[in-house]
Point group: C2
């Protein structure tokens, strides 16, 4: 069974590239800089189902992404979460939070509707983040 | 600077024991089996601030805890999250979710009020989980 991105993730996000293990997605919601890592292994819903080696890779990729985003966006806080109640395919949210964002201090899920990026905004975010991660992304 | 548990975590949870790195807490909310890992390092708000070795330990302790809880409670889904918008001290939620729990499929935060355990219920949960993790907890 080959890995295939869940249709709902495909619909709600834009692919930025691939780390060794995970696909990096930009959530199409301009309210927050919101990125998602999806380990490219079929049939996985929980991180503990990955091999030990893959778990370690995921931890390293998550740490690199979170650190890069926190510094680049000057985050007040990073929110990092594997929820998956609606989309069971393992995916880890990495969300840059600010004390003056629309949902603060609540978590972002279920708070108002997403506001999609314009094409220009989207390209801008993609270019910036890809540049920061150029040594790690395929 | 020595590690001290944030007063809000102390207030809202019960200590179960300590892994090599993290303190294991039971959230005093009987609506969900809800556990929290707190790496016992001072001044840390994001996982990427930990040393590489500690990040790896945290990943291993989180994986062990999530797997143990998922199996013991026959979870429909584990929700694992580092939010910290209110309590900045790094702490990682591990929440057992069921398709018929009160908040499903939404995340649990901000959904209704916590329902504290009775003393007997609390002791019961603590005894069960400590037994499952007896080889790993101090």
């Amino acid at each position: 069974m080959a890995f295939q991105l869940h249709p709902r993730l495909q619909q709600d996000s834009i692919e930025l590239g691939q780390f060794n293990l995970s696909r990096l997605l930009l959530c199409n919601d301009s309210r927050y800089p919101w990125f998602i890592l999806v380990p490219q292994r079929p049939g996985i819903t929980e991180a503990f189902q990955l091999s030990e080696k893959d778990q370690q890779l995921l931890q390293q990729e998550s740490s690199l992404l979170a650190k890069t985003l926190a510094h680049y966006y000057q985050a007040d806080k990073m929110n990092i979460a594997a929820i998956g109640n609606i989309v069971p395919q393992l995916h880890i949210h990495h969300i840059v939070r600010y004390k003056n964002d629309i949902a603060w201090p609540a978590p972002v899920w279920g708070k108002y509707e997403a506001i999609p990026y314009s094409k220009a905004q989207q390209q801008n975010v993609m270019d910036q983040i890809k540049e920061k991660l150029v040594n790690y992304l395929r």
